[in-house]
Protein backbone atom coordinates (compact mmCIF):
# COMPACT_ATOMS: atom_id res chain seq x y z
CA UNK A 1 0.00 0.00 0.00
CA UNK A 2 2.71 2.48 1.03
CA UNK A 3 4.23 4.50 -1.73
CA UNK A 4 7.99 3.94 -1.52
CA UNK A 5 8.70 7.54 -2.49
CA UNK A 6 6.60 8.89 0.37
CA UNK A 7 8.40 6.91 2.99
CA UNK A 8 11.84 7.94 1.76
CA UNK A 9 13.22 9.85 4.77
CA UNK A 10 15.97 11.58 2.82
CA UNK A 11 13.38 13.41 0.74
CA UNK A 12 11.43 14.55 3.79
CA UNK A 13 14.56 15.73 5.59
CA UNK A 14 15.98 17.68 2.71
CA UNK A 15 16.46 21.22 3.94
CA UNK A 16 16.85 22.79 0.54
CA UNK A 17 13.50 24.22 -0.53
CA UNK A 18 13.93 23.31 -4.19
CA UNK A 19 14.87 19.77 -3.38
CA UNK A 20 11.84 19.43 -1.12
CA UNK A 21 9.58 20.91 -3.73
CA UNK A 22 10.97 18.53 -6.31
CA UNK A 23 10.50 15.64 -3.91
CA UNK A 24 6.95 16.75 -3.25
CA UNK A 25 6.37 16.83 -6.97
CA UNK A 26 7.69 13.30 -7.39
CA UNK A 27 5.72 12.18 -4.37
CA UNK A 28 2.44 13.61 -5.57
CA UNK A 29 3.03 12.37 -9.10
CA UNK A 30 3.43 8.87 -7.77
CA UNK A 31 0.36 9.17 -5.61
CA UNK A 32 -1.61 10.82 -8.33
CA UNK A 33 -0.88 7.85 -10.54
CA UNK A 34 -2.10 5.51 -7.83
CA UNK A 35 -5.08 7.77 -7.19
CA UNK A 36 -6.10 7.82 -10.80
CA UNK A 37 -5.77 4.09 -11.04
CA UNK A 38 -7.99 3.76 -8.01
CA UNK A 39 -10.45 6.14 -9.62
CA UNK A 40 -10.64 3.87 -12.61
CA UNK A 41 -10.67 0.91 -10.31
CA UNK A 42 -13.75 2.26 -8.60
CA UNK A 43 -15.75 1.74 -11.76
CA UNK A 44 -13.72 -1.28 -12.69
CA UNK A 45 -14.39 -3.04 -9.40
CA UNK A 46 -18.16 -3.06 -9.87
CA UNK A 47 -17.68 -4.28 -13.45
CA UNK A 48 -15.41 -7.07 -12.23
CA UNK A 49 -17.75 -8.15 -9.45
CA UNK A 50 -20.64 -8.15 -11.92
CA UNK A 51 -18.67 -10.26 -14.39
CA UNK A 52 -17.62 -12.72 -11.68
CA UNK A 53 -21.21 -13.09 -10.48
CA UNK A 54 -22.41 -13.61 -14.01
CA UNK A 55 -19.77 -16.29 -14.62
CA UNK A 56 -20.61 -17.95 -11.30
CA UNK A 57 -24.31 -18.30 -12.10
CA UNK A 58 -23.67 -19.09 -15.77
CA UNK A 59 -21.40 -21.99 -14.85
CA UNK A 60 -23.50 -23.20 -11.94
CA UNK A 61 -26.94 -22.91 -13.52
CA UNK A 62 -26.13 -23.29 -17.20
CA UNK A 63 -28.78 -22.42 -19.73
CA UNK A 64 -31.35 -21.80 -17.03
CA UNK A 65 -29.34 -18.68 -16.37
CA UNK A 66 -27.88 -17.87 -19.79
CA UNK A 67 -31.06 -18.58 -21.77
CA UNK A 68 -32.72 -15.79 -23.71
CA UNK A 69 -35.73 -15.64 -21.41
CA UNK A 70 -33.63 -15.34 -18.32
CA UNK A 71 -31.33 -12.71 -19.82
CA UNK A 72 -34.55 -10.85 -20.54
CA UNK A 73 -35.48 -11.05 -16.86
CA UNK A 74 -32.14 -9.64 -15.82
CA UNK A 75 -32.36 -6.95 -18.48
CA UNK A 76 -35.81 -5.91 -17.27
CA UNK A 77 -34.72 -5.69 -13.67
CA UNK A 78 -31.65 -3.71 -14.64
CA UNK A 79 -33.29 -1.32 -17.11
CA UNK A 80 -35.78 0.49 -14.91
CA UNK A 81 -33.31 0.85 -12.04
CA UNK A 82 -30.52 2.04 -14.37
CA UNK A 83 -32.69 4.68 -16.06
CA UNK A 84 -33.82 6.08 -12.71
CA UNK A 85 -30.25 5.85 -11.42
CA UNK A 86 -29.06 7.96 -14.38
CA UNK A 87 -31.09 10.78 -12.84
CA UNK A 88 -30.32 9.94 -9.22
CA UNK A 89 -26.58 10.02 -9.92
CA UNK A 90 -26.88 13.59 -11.22
CA UNK A 91 -28.79 14.46 -8.04
CA UNK A 92 -26.38 12.66 -5.73
CA UNK A 93 -23.43 14.37 -7.43
CA UNK A 94 -24.89 17.77 -6.65
CA UNK A 95 -25.63 16.65 -3.11
CA UNK A 96 -29.35 15.88 -3.34
CA UNK A 97 -31.62 12.83 -3.62
CA UNK A 98 -35.11 12.10 -4.94
CA UNK A 99 -37.16 9.64 -2.91
CA UNK A 100 -40.27 10.19 -5.03
CA UNK A 101 -38.81 8.75 -8.27
CA UNK A 102 -40.45 5.35 -7.75
CA UNK A 103 -43.85 6.99 -7.49
CA UNK A 104 -43.28 9.16 -10.55
CA UNK A 105 -42.41 5.90 -12.30
CA UNK A 106 -45.93 4.59 -11.54
CA UNK A 107 -47.79 7.85 -12.12
CA UNK A 108 -46.50 8.83 -15.55
CA UNK A 109 -47.71 5.86 -17.66
CA UNK A 110 -51.11 5.88 -15.97
CA UNK A 111 -51.48 9.55 -16.73
CA UNK A 112 -50.45 8.84 -20.30
CA UNK A 113 -53.08 6.10 -20.70
CA UNK A 114 -55.83 8.23 -19.15
CA UNK A 115 -54.99 11.09 -21.51
CA UNK A 116 -55.03 8.65 -24.41
CA UNK A 117 -58.20 6.76 -23.46
CA UNK A 118 -60.30 9.54 -21.94
CA UNK A 119 -59.09 12.65 -23.74
CA UNK A 120 -58.42 10.96 -27.06
CA UNK A 121 -54.84 12.23 -27.29
CA UNK A 122 -52.53 10.23 -29.56
CA UNK A 123 -50.14 8.11 -27.48
CA UNK A 124 -47.08 10.12 -28.48
CA UNK A 125 -48.63 13.39 -27.38
CA UNK A 126 -50.07 11.79 -24.24
CA UNK A 127 -46.55 10.59 -23.41
CA UNK A 128 -45.12 14.09 -23.81
CA UNK A 129 -47.85 15.60 -21.62
CA UNK A 130 -47.39 12.93 -18.96
CA UNK A 131 -43.62 13.48 -18.96
CA UNK A 132 -44.25 17.22 -18.59
CA UNK A 133 -46.35 16.49 -15.50
CA UNK A 134 -43.49 14.34 -14.17
CA UNK A 135 -41.11 17.20 -14.93
CA UNK A 136 -43.42 19.56 -13.03
CA UNK A 137 -43.12 17.37 -9.94
CA UNK A 138 -39.35 17.37 -10.38
CA UNK A 139 -39.45 21.15 -10.68
CA UNK A 140 -41.54 21.31 -7.54
CA UNK A 141 -39.00 19.12 -5.70
CA UNK A 142 -36.19 21.35 -6.90
CA UNK A 143 -37.84 24.66 -6.14
CA UNK A 144 -38.93 23.68 -2.64
CA UNK A 145 -35.55 22.16 -1.81
CA UNK A 146 -33.46 24.95 -3.25
CA UNK A 147 -35.52 28.07 -2.63
CA UNK A 148 -37.16 27.12 0.67
CA UNK A 149 -33.99 25.30 1.76
CA UNK A 150 -35.75 22.13 2.80
CA UNK A 151 -33.61 18.99 2.84
CA UNK A 152 -34.32 17.02 -0.34
CA UNK A 153 -34.98 14.03 1.87
CA UNK A 154 -38.02 15.82 3.33
CA UNK A 155 -39.24 17.50 0.15
CA UNK A 156 -39.18 14.34 -1.90
CA UNK A 157 -40.60 12.28 0.95
CA UNK A 158 -43.60 14.57 0.79
CA UNK A 159 -43.77 14.33 -2.99
CA UNK A 160 -43.52 10.54 -2.69
CA UNK A 161 -46.83 10.40 -0.82
CA UNK A 162 -48.37 13.17 -2.88
CA UNK A 163 -47.62 11.46 -6.20
CA UNK A 164 -48.57 8.03 -4.91
CA UNK A 165 -51.90 9.28 -3.60
CA UNK A 166 -52.59 11.14 -6.81
CA UNK A 167 -51.83 8.04 -8.88
CA UNK A 168 -54.16 5.85 -6.83
CA UNK A 169 -56.86 8.51 -7.01
CA UNK A 170 -56.84 8.97 -10.77
CA UNK A 171 -56.26 5.30 -11.54
CA UNK A 172 -59.00 4.12 -9.19
CA UNK A 173 -56.47 1.67 -7.70
CA UNK A 174 -56.59 -0.72 -10.65
CA UNK A 175 -54.07 -1.27 -13.42
CA UNK A 176 -54.48 0.35 -16.84
CA UNK A 177 -53.88 -1.99 -19.79
CA UNK A 178 -50.84 -0.96 -21.79
CA UNK A 179 -50.88 -0.71 -25.59
CA UNK A 180 -49.62 -3.95 -27.12
CA UNK A 181 -48.97 -3.07 -30.74
CA UNK A 182 -48.45 -0.19 -33.12
CA UNK A 183 -45.44 2.02 -33.80
CA UNK A 184 -45.52 3.41 -30.28
CA UNK A 185 -44.97 -0.02 -28.80
CA UNK A 186 -42.34 -0.89 -31.41
CA UNK A 187 -40.37 2.24 -30.51
CA UNK A 188 -40.81 2.04 -26.76
CA UNK A 189 -39.66 -1.33 -25.54
CA UNK A 190 -41.73 -3.81 -27.51
CA UNK A 191 -42.10 -7.10 -25.63
CA UNK A 192 -41.14 -9.09 -28.70
CA UNK A 193 -37.43 -8.42 -28.08
CA UNK A 194 -35.89 -9.15 -24.70
CA UNK A 195 -33.39 -6.33 -25.22
CA UNK A 196 -35.81 -3.62 -26.26
CA UNK A 197 -35.93 -1.97 -22.84
CA UNK A 198 -32.28 -2.29 -21.93
CA UNK A 199 -31.15 -0.58 -25.14
CA UNK A 200 -33.08 2.46 -23.95
CA UNK A 201 -31.39 2.17 -20.57
CA UNK A 202 -27.95 1.88 -22.14
CA UNK A 203 -28.60 4.81 -24.46
CA UNK A 204 -29.74 7.03 -21.59
CA UNK A 205 -26.82 5.97 -19.39
CA UNK A 206 -24.26 6.62 -22.13
CA UNK A 207 -25.70 10.05 -22.89
CA UNK A 208 -25.78 11.00 -19.20
CA UNK A 209 -22.25 9.72 -18.65
CA UNK A 210 -21.05 11.96 -21.47
CA UNK A 211 -23.07 14.83 -20.04
CA UNK A 212 -21.48 14.30 -16.63
CA UNK A 213 -17.90 14.02 -17.80
CA UNK A 214 -17.70 16.16 -20.90
CA UNK A 215 -20.15 19.06 -20.75
CA UNK A 216 -20.55 22.22 -18.72
CA UNK A 217 -23.75 20.78 -17.28
CA UNK A 218 -21.77 17.88 -15.81
CA UNK A 219 -18.84 19.99 -14.67
CA UNK A 220 -21.17 22.46 -12.96
CA UNK A 221 -23.11 19.62 -11.35
CA UNK A 222 -19.87 18.31 -9.89
CA UNK A 223 -18.85 21.82 -8.84
CA UNK A 224 -22.25 22.39 -7.19
CA UNK A 225 -21.88 19.24 -5.10
CA UNK A 226 -18.14 19.62 -4.53
CA UNK A 227 -18.11 23.21 -3.31
CA UNK A 228 -21.53 24.86 -3.29
CA UNK A 229 -20.41 28.30 -2.11
CA UNK A 230 -17.24 28.25 -4.15
CA UNK A 231 -19.09 27.28 -7.32
CA UNK A 232 -21.65 30.01 -6.68
CA UNK A 233 -18.81 32.44 -6.16
CA UNK A 234 -17.34 31.45 -9.52
CA UNK A 235 -20.66 32.51 -11.05
CA UNK A 236 -22.12 29.04 -11.56
CA UNK A 237 -25.89 28.98 -11.17
CA UNK A 238 -25.78 26.33 -8.48
CA UNK A 239 -29.48 26.44 -7.69
CA UNK A 240 -30.39 25.98 -11.34
CA UNK A 241 -28.03 22.99 -11.50
CA UNK A 242 -29.85 21.31 -8.62
CA UNK A 243 -33.30 22.09 -9.97
CA UNK A 244 -32.28 20.71 -13.35
CA UNK A 245 -31.15 17.46 -11.72
CA UNK A 246 -34.51 17.10 -9.93
CA UNK A 247 -36.37 17.63 -13.20
CA UNK A 248 -34.27 15.17 -15.20
CA UNK A 249 -34.65 12.52 -12.47
CA UNK A 250 -38.43 12.84 -12.50
CA UNK A 251 -38.56 12.70 -16.30
CA UNK A 252 -36.32 9.62 -16.43
CA UNK A 253 -38.40 7.93 -13.74
CA UNK A 254 -41.60 8.63 -15.66
CA UNK A 255 -40.09 7.44 -18.92
CA UNK A 256 -38.81 4.26 -17.27
CA UNK A 257 -42.35 3.63 -16.01
CA UNK A 258 -43.73 3.83 -19.54
CA UNK A 259 -41.04 1.53 -20.99
CA UNK A 260 -41.30 -0.97 -18.17
CA UNK A 261 -45.10 -1.24 -18.32
CA UNK A 262 -45.13 -1.77 -22.07
CA UNK A 263 -42.28 -4.23 -22.02
CA UNK A 264 -43.10 -6.56 -19.17
CA UNK A 265 -46.59 -6.86 -17.72
CA UNK A 266 -48.27 -5.01 -20.59
CA UNK A 267 -50.22 -3.08 -18.04
CA UNK A 268 -49.57 -0.05 -15.89
CA UNK A 269 -50.03 -0.79 -12.22
CA UNK A 270 -50.50 2.22 -9.91
CA UNK A 271 -48.46 0.28 -7.36
CA UNK A 272 -45.63 -0.53 -9.78
CA UNK A 273 -42.09 0.57 -9.03
CA UNK A 274 -42.56 2.41 -5.82
CA UNK A 275 -40.04 2.80 -3.06
CA UNK A 276 -38.49 -0.58 -3.72
CA UNK A 277 -37.45 0.47 -7.21
CA UNK A 278 -36.35 3.92 -6.07
CA UNK A 279 -34.10 2.43 -3.40
CA UNK A 280 -32.78 -0.11 -5.91
CA UNK A 281 -31.77 2.81 -8.14
CA UNK A 282 -30.06 4.61 -5.25
CA UNK A 283 -28.38 1.36 -4.20
CA UNK A 284 -27.20 0.80 -7.79
CA UNK A 285 -25.72 4.32 -7.81
CA UNK A 286 -23.90 3.75 -4.54
CA UNK A 287 -22.66 0.29 -5.50
CA UNK A 288 -21.55 1.74 -8.83
CA UNK A 289 -19.29 4.24 -7.09
CA UNK A 290 -21.29 7.42 -6.52
CA UNK A 291 -20.77 8.91 -3.08
CA UNK A 292 -23.78 10.33 -1.28
CA UNK A 293 -21.65 13.28 -0.21
CA UNK A 294 -21.80 14.96 -3.60
CA UNK A 295 -19.03 16.14 -5.86
CA UNK A 296 -18.38 12.89 -7.68
CA UNK A 297 -20.21 10.07 -9.34
CA UNK A 298 -20.52 7.81 -12.35
CA UNK A 299 -23.60 6.94 -14.39
CA UNK A 300 -21.91 3.95 -16.05
CA UNK A 301 -21.05 2.65 -12.59
CA UNK A 302 -24.72 2.89 -11.62
CA UNK A 303 -25.72 0.83 -14.68
CA UNK A 304 -23.35 -1.90 -13.56
CA UNK A 305 -24.60 -1.51 -10.01
CA UNK A 306 -28.12 -2.17 -11.27
CA UNK A 307 -26.90 -5.07 -13.39
CA UNK A 308 -25.08 -6.54 -10.39
CA UNK A 309 -28.25 -6.41 -8.31
CA UNK A 310 -30.25 -7.85 -11.22
CA UNK A 311 -27.87 -10.77 -11.64
CA UNK A 312 -27.82 -11.44 -7.92
CA UNK A 313 -31.59 -11.44 -7.58
CA UNK A 314 -32.12 -13.54 -10.67
CA UNK A 315 -29.33 -15.94 -9.81
CA UNK A 316 -30.67 -16.47 -6.30
CA UNK A 317 -34.09 -17.01 -7.77
CA UNK A 318 -32.86 -19.72 -10.15
CA UNK A 319 -30.79 -21.38 -7.46
CA UNK A 320 -33.98 -21.58 -5.44
CA UNK A 321 -32.66 -19.33 -2.69
CA UNK A 322 -35.24 -17.29 -0.93
CA UNK A 323 -35.75 -13.69 -1.94
CA UNK A 324 -35.14 -12.79 1.68
CA UNK A 325 -31.55 -13.93 1.32
CA UNK A 326 -31.20 -11.67 -1.68
CA UNK A 327 -32.48 -8.71 0.31
CA UNK A 328 -29.90 -9.39 3.02
CA UNK A 329 -27.13 -9.67 0.47
CA UNK A 330 -28.28 -6.45 -1.16
CA UNK A 331 -28.00 -4.70 2.19
CA UNK A 332 -24.49 -5.99 2.76
CA UNK A 333 -23.50 -5.07 -0.80
CA UNK A 334 -24.60 -1.47 -0.27
CA UNK A 335 -22.62 -1.12 2.94
CA UNK A 336 -19.55 -2.81 1.47
CA UNK A 337 -19.63 -0.63 -1.62
CA UNK A 338 -19.98 2.50 0.48
CA UNK A 339 -17.14 1.50 2.81
CA UNK A 340 -14.98 0.75 -0.21
CA UNK A 341 -15.79 4.10 -1.79
CA UNK A 342 -15.12 6.18 1.29
CA UNK A 343 -11.94 4.27 2.12
CA UNK A 344 -10.64 4.64 -1.42
CA UNK A 345 -11.45 8.35 -1.36
CA UNK A 346 -9.72 8.73 1.99
CA UNK A 347 -6.74 6.83 0.66
CA UNK A 348 -6.56 9.08 -2.37
CA UNK A 349 -6.98 12.24 -0.31
CA UNK A 350 -4.63 11.06 2.39
CA UNK A 351 -1.96 11.29 -0.26
CA UNK A 352 -2.15 15.08 -0.12
CA UNK A 353 1.21 16.67 0.61
CA UNK A 354 1.15 18.47 3.93
Amino acid sequence: MADPVTSDPSAADAADLDATAAAARVRSTGLRGVGQNLMRLRELSVVLVTAVLFAYFAIGQGSAFTGKDNLGNIANYTSAAAIIAAGEVMLLVCGEIDLSAGMTFAMTPILMMLLHNNQGLPLGIALVVALLVAAAFGLFNGLVTVLLRLPAFITTLGTLYLVHGLTLKVAGSHPEPAPTDGTFVQVFASQSHWWSEIVWAIAIVVVMQIVLTSTRWGAYTIATGGNYLGAAEAGIKVRAMKIRAFVITAVFAGFAGVLDGIHTPQSFDPNAGGNDLMFTAVAASVIGGTALLGGSGTVIGALFGALLLGILQDGFNIKGLSVNTFIMVEGIAIILAMVLNTQLTRFRRGARAE
Partner: protein, 282 residues
Protein backbone atom coordinates in the same frame (compact mmCIF):
# COMPACT_ATOMS: atom_id res chain seq x y z
CA UNK B 1 -10.05 61.35 14.25
CA UNK B 2 -9.44 62.12 10.59
CA UNK B 3 -6.36 60.60 9.04
CA UNK B 4 -4.13 63.29 7.58
CA UNK B 5 -4.64 63.78 3.87
CA UNK B 6 -1.57 62.64 2.10
CA UNK B 7 -0.98 64.41 -1.21
CA UNK B 8 0.01 61.10 -2.72
CA UNK B 9 -3.58 59.95 -2.13
CA UNK B 10 -4.87 62.26 -4.86
CA UNK B 11 -4.67 61.57 -8.55
CA UNK B 12 -2.41 64.49 -9.40
CA UNK B 13 0.27 62.47 -11.09
CA UNK B 14 -1.73 59.58 -12.55
CA UNK B 15 -5.05 58.05 -11.54
CA UNK B 16 -4.64 55.18 -9.09
CA UNK B 17 -5.88 51.70 -9.96
CA UNK B 18 -8.08 51.89 -6.87
CA UNK B 19 -8.67 54.82 -4.62
CA UNK B 20 -11.19 55.31 -1.86
CA UNK B 21 -12.37 58.64 -0.53
CA UNK B 22 -13.69 58.90 3.01
CA UNK B 23 -15.14 55.39 3.13
CA UNK B 24 -17.16 54.69 6.24
CA UNK B 25 -19.14 51.62 7.26
CA UNK B 26 -21.29 51.10 10.32
CA UNK B 27 -23.04 47.99 11.52
CA UNK B 28 -25.77 49.21 13.86
CA UNK B 29 -24.02 51.33 16.45
CA UNK B 30 -20.62 49.84 15.70
CA UNK B 31 -18.42 51.83 13.38
CA UNK B 32 -16.35 49.34 11.45
CA UNK B 33 -14.59 51.83 9.18
CA UNK B 34 -14.27 55.59 9.18
CA UNK B 35 -12.76 57.98 6.65
CA UNK B 36 -10.74 55.41 4.77
CA UNK B 37 -8.55 57.03 2.11
CA UNK B 38 -6.68 54.29 0.41
CA UNK B 39 -4.70 54.29 -2.78
CA UNK B 40 -3.21 51.50 -4.81
CA UNK B 41 -1.19 52.40 -7.87
CA UNK B 42 -1.07 50.33 -11.03
CA UNK B 43 0.93 47.19 -10.46
CA UNK B 44 1.41 48.08 -6.83
CA UNK B 45 1.15 45.59 -3.97
CA UNK B 46 -0.51 47.03 -0.88
CA UNK B 47 -0.26 45.15 2.39
CA UNK B 48 -3.16 45.65 4.79
CA UNK B 49 -2.27 44.91 8.39
CA UNK B 50 -4.07 45.37 11.68
CA UNK B 51 -5.47 43.54 14.64
CA UNK B 52 -8.54 41.32 14.46
CA UNK B 53 -11.60 43.53 14.30
CA UNK B 54 -9.64 46.51 12.97
CA UNK B 55 -11.77 46.55 9.84
CA UNK B 56 -9.53 44.85 7.29
CA UNK B 57 -12.10 42.33 6.18
CA UNK B 58 -14.87 44.96 6.05
CA UNK B 59 -12.67 47.09 3.81
CA UNK B 60 -11.91 44.18 1.52
CA UNK B 61 -15.60 43.27 1.42
CA UNK B 62 -16.49 46.79 0.31
CA UNK B 63 -13.89 46.67 -2.46
CA UNK B 64 -15.13 43.28 -3.56
CA UNK B 65 -18.72 44.55 -3.78
CA UNK B 66 -20.04 42.48 -0.90
CA UNK B 67 -20.73 45.42 1.44
CA UNK B 68 -21.81 48.88 0.34
CA UNK B 69 -20.19 51.80 2.19
CA UNK B 70 -22.32 54.20 4.24
CA UNK B 71 -20.14 57.14 3.25
CA UNK B 72 -17.44 57.87 0.76
CA UNK B 73 -16.77 56.38 -2.62
CA UNK B 74 -14.50 54.06 -4.55
CA UNK B 75 -12.66 55.17 -7.69
CA UNK B 76 -11.17 52.89 -10.31
CA UNK B 77 -8.68 54.61 -12.57
CA UNK B 78 -10.01 57.91 -11.26
CA UNK B 79 -13.62 57.07 -12.18
CA UNK B 80 -16.08 56.83 -9.30
CA UNK B 81 -17.85 53.47 -9.29
CA UNK B 82 -20.61 51.99 -7.19
CA UNK B 83 -19.77 48.36 -6.53
CA UNK B 84 -23.22 46.86 -6.40
CA UNK B 85 -22.33 43.18 -5.99
CA UNK B 86 -19.47 40.73 -6.12
CA UNK B 87 -20.42 39.95 -9.73
CA UNK B 88 -20.47 43.62 -10.59
CA UNK B 89 -17.06 44.22 -8.99
CA UNK B 90 -15.73 41.20 -10.87
CA UNK B 91 -17.04 42.57 -14.16
CA UNK B 92 -14.97 45.69 -13.44
CA UNK B 93 -11.85 43.57 -13.00
CA UNK B 94 -11.82 43.23 -9.21
CA UNK B 95 -11.19 39.61 -8.28
CA UNK B 96 -11.07 38.31 -4.73
CA UNK B 97 -9.40 35.17 -3.46
CA UNK B 98 -11.08 34.30 -0.20
CA UNK B 99 -9.77 32.01 2.46
CA UNK B 100 -12.53 29.53 1.76
CA UNK B 101 -11.16 28.82 -1.65
CA UNK B 102 -13.61 28.70 -4.49
CA UNK B 103 -11.96 25.56 -5.82
CA UNK B 104 -13.80 22.30 -6.39
CA UNK B 105 -11.82 19.53 -4.73
CA UNK B 106 -13.26 16.78 -6.89
CA UNK B 107 -12.40 18.46 -10.19
CA UNK B 108 -8.93 18.41 -11.75
CA UNK B 109 -6.67 21.45 -11.79
CA UNK B 110 -7.35 22.33 -15.41
CA UNK B 111 -11.12 22.35 -14.82
CA UNK B 112 -10.74 24.53 -11.75
CA UNK B 113 -8.63 27.02 -13.65
CA UNK B 114 -11.41 27.37 -16.23
CA UNK B 115 -14.41 27.12 -13.92
CA UNK B 116 -17.36 28.88 -15.55
CA UNK B 117 -15.18 29.92 -18.49
CA UNK B 118 -14.70 26.55 -20.15
CA UNK B 119 -13.80 26.54 -23.83
CA UNK B 120 -16.05 24.21 -25.80
CA UNK B 121 -16.33 22.39 -29.07
CA UNK B 122 -20.05 22.36 -29.74
CA UNK B 123 -21.66 21.19 -26.52
CA UNK B 124 -18.53 19.42 -25.31
CA UNK B 125 -15.77 20.72 -23.10
CA UNK B 126 -12.56 21.32 -25.00
CA UNK B 127 -10.46 19.43 -22.48
CA UNK B 128 -7.36 19.38 -24.65
CA UNK B 129 -7.35 23.15 -24.90
CA UNK B 130 -8.11 23.52 -21.19
CA UNK B 131 -5.17 21.28 -20.29
CA UNK B 132 -2.81 23.14 -22.61
CA UNK B 133 -3.93 26.55 -21.34
CA UNK B 134 -3.70 25.41 -17.74
CA UNK B 135 -0.15 24.23 -18.28
CA UNK B 136 0.71 27.54 -19.89
CA UNK B 137 -0.88 29.61 -17.09
CA UNK B 138 0.92 27.69 -14.39
CA UNK B 139 4.29 27.71 -16.16
CA UNK B 140 3.82 31.38 -16.87
CA UNK B 141 3.52 32.35 -13.25
CA UNK B 142 5.87 29.68 -12.01
CA UNK B 143 3.52 27.43 -10.06
CA UNK B 144 4.76 23.87 -9.92
CA UNK B 145 1.96 21.33 -9.88
CA UNK B 146 2.54 17.63 -10.53
CA UNK B 147 -0.04 17.58 -13.31
CA UNK B 148 -2.95 19.69 -14.48
CA UNK B 149 -4.98 16.47 -14.37
CA UNK B 150 -4.50 16.13 -10.61
CA UNK B 151 -7.62 16.46 -8.53
CA UNK B 152 -7.37 19.62 -6.45
CA UNK B 153 -8.04 17.57 -3.30
CA UNK B 154 -4.66 15.91 -3.79
CA UNK B 155 -2.74 19.19 -3.68
CA UNK B 156 -1.27 21.04 -0.75
CA UNK B 157 -2.79 24.18 0.75
CA UNK B 158 -0.20 26.39 -0.90
CA UNK B 159 -0.71 24.83 -4.30
CA UNK B 160 -4.47 25.21 -3.97
CA UNK B 161 -4.17 28.84 -2.96
CA UNK B 162 -1.79 29.39 -5.88
CA UNK B 163 -4.31 27.87 -8.30
CA UNK B 164 -7.05 30.10 -6.90
CA UNK B 165 -4.79 33.13 -7.43
CA UNK B 166 -3.86 31.95 -10.91
CA UNK B 167 -7.52 31.60 -11.82
CA UNK B 168 -8.20 35.17 -10.73
CA UNK B 169 -5.19 36.51 -12.58
CA UNK B 170 -6.27 34.82 -15.78
CA UNK B 171 -9.83 36.06 -15.51
CA UNK B 172 -8.46 39.45 -16.56
CA UNK B 173 -8.22 40.73 -13.01
CA UNK B 174 -6.97 44.29 -12.80
CA UNK B 175 -7.20 44.37 -9.05
CA UNK B 176 -6.60 41.30 -6.96
CA UNK B 177 -7.79 41.15 -3.35
CA UNK B 178 -6.13 38.47 -1.27
CA UNK B 179 -7.81 37.85 2.08
CA UNK B 180 -5.12 36.36 4.31
CA UNK B 181 -3.56 34.26 1.56
CA UNK B 182 -1.01 32.92 4.01
CA UNK B 183 -3.36 31.93 6.81
CA UNK B 184 -2.87 28.43 8.16
CA UNK B 185 0.13 27.80 5.96
CA UNK B 186 3.60 26.63 6.83
CA UNK B 187 6.69 28.55 5.71
CA UNK B 188 7.18 26.41 2.62
CA UNK B 189 3.53 26.63 1.61
CA UNK B 190 3.43 30.37 2.24
CA UNK B 191 6.58 30.66 0.16
CA UNK B 192 4.68 29.48 -2.90
CA UNK B 193 2.23 32.36 -2.52
CA UNK B 194 4.89 34.96 -1.69
CA UNK B 195 6.83 33.93 -4.79
CA UNK B 196 3.66 34.24 -6.82
CA UNK B 197 2.88 37.72 -5.48
CA UNK B 198 6.48 38.80 -6.10
CA UNK B 199 6.24 37.51 -9.64
CA UNK B 200 2.97 39.34 -10.27
CA UNK B 201 4.54 42.52 -8.87
CA UNK B 202 7.41 42.23 -11.31
CA UNK B 203 5.01 41.76 -14.20
CA UNK B 204 3.10 44.78 -12.94
CA UNK B 205 -0.16 44.25 -14.84
CA UNK B 206 -2.29 43.65 -11.77
CA UNK B 207 -2.64 45.69 -8.59
CA UNK B 208 -2.83 43.67 -5.41
CA UNK B 209 -4.31 44.38 -2.00
CA UNK B 210 -3.47 41.67 0.49
CA UNK B 211 -4.36 41.20 4.13
CA UNK B 212 -1.28 39.93 5.93
CA UNK B 213 -0.60 39.04 9.54
CA UNK B 214 3.10 38.39 9.43
CA UNK B 215 4.94 41.73 9.24
CA UNK B 216 8.10 40.21 7.83
CA UNK B 217 6.06 38.91 4.88
CA UNK B 218 4.71 42.43 4.31
CA UNK B 219 8.22 43.75 3.86
CA UNK B 220 9.01 40.77 1.71
CA UNK B 221 6.48 41.41 -1.06
CA UNK B 222 4.60 44.70 -0.56
CA UNK B 223 5.38 48.09 -2.06
CA UNK B 224 3.37 49.83 0.55
CA UNK B 225 1.75 49.08 3.86
CA UNK B 226 -1.42 50.40 5.49
CA UNK B 227 -2.07 49.81 9.16
CA UNK B 228 -5.71 49.70 10.18
CA UNK B 229 -6.56 50.39 13.81
CA UNK B 230 -10.13 50.58 15.03
CA UNK B 231 -11.49 51.28 11.60
CA UNK B 232 -8.98 53.95 10.64
CA UNK B 233 -5.82 53.90 8.58
CA UNK B 234 -3.21 55.05 11.07
CA UNK B 235 -0.17 54.45 8.91
CA UNK B 236 0.33 54.59 5.16
CA UNK B 237 3.95 54.29 4.10
CA UNK B 238 6.07 52.75 1.45
CA UNK B 239 7.70 49.66 2.90
CA UNK B 240 11.17 51.09 2.39
CA UNK B 241 10.21 54.10 4.53
CA UNK B 242 9.13 52.04 7.51
CA UNK B 243 10.25 49.01 9.46
CA UNK B 244 8.92 46.08 11.38
CA UNK B 245 9.95 47.96 14.54
CA UNK B 246 7.85 50.98 13.67
CA UNK B 247 4.78 48.83 12.98
CA UNK B 248 5.26 46.84 16.17
CA UNK B 249 5.65 50.09 18.07
CA UNK B 250 2.38 51.44 16.71
CA UNK B 251 0.55 48.27 17.60
CA UNK B 252 2.10 48.21 21.08
CA UNK B 253 0.93 51.79 21.62
CA UNK B 254 -2.55 50.66 20.60
CA UNK B 255 -2.51 48.06 23.35
CA UNK B 256 -1.22 50.56 25.93
CA UNK B 257 -3.92 53.10 25.11
CA UNK B 258 -6.38 50.32 24.55
CA UNK B 259 -8.25 51.17 27.77
CA UNK B 260 -10.17 53.88 25.96
CA UNK B 261 -11.45 51.50 23.33
CA UNK B 262 -12.02 48.67 25.74
CA UNK B 263 -14.08 50.89 28.04
CA UNK B 264 -16.11 52.07 25.09
CA UNK B 265 -16.74 48.51 24.05
CA UNK B 266 -17.69 47.49 27.56
CA UNK B 267 -20.20 50.30 27.67
CA UNK B 268 -21.59 49.22 24.34
CA UNK B 269 -21.91 45.64 25.47
CA UNK B 270 -23.75 46.60 28.64
CA UNK B 271 -26.06 48.76 26.55
CA UNK B 272 -26.99 45.99 24.18
CA UNK B 273 -27.38 43.58 27.06
CA UNK B 274 -29.48 46.13 28.88
CA UNK B 275 -28.34 44.84 32.27
CA UNK B 276 -26.02 47.67 33.21
CA UNK B 277 -23.16 45.32 34.05
CA UNK B 278 -19.86 46.34 32.58
CA UNK B 279 -18.82 44.23 29.63
CA UNK B 280 -16.37 41.50 30.30
CA UNK B 281 -14.31 42.77 27.40
CA UNK B 282 -12.76 45.45 29.64
Amino acid sequence: MTAPRDPSLTDEAAPAAVRTEGLAKRFGTVTALRDINLRVGHGEVLGLIGDNGAGKSTLVKILTGFHQPDEGRVLLNGEPVELRSVQHARSLGIETVFQDLALVNTLPVYMNLHLNKEPRIGPFLDKRRMRAQARRYLDDIGISIPSVNAEVANLSGGQRQAIAVARSVYSDAKILLLDEPLAAMGAKEGGIILDLVRMLRERGDVSIIMIVHNYAQVFDVCDRVNLLQHGEITLDKRTEDTSVEELLDLVATEYRTGGKFAAGRGQYLSEVRGDGTPGSAA
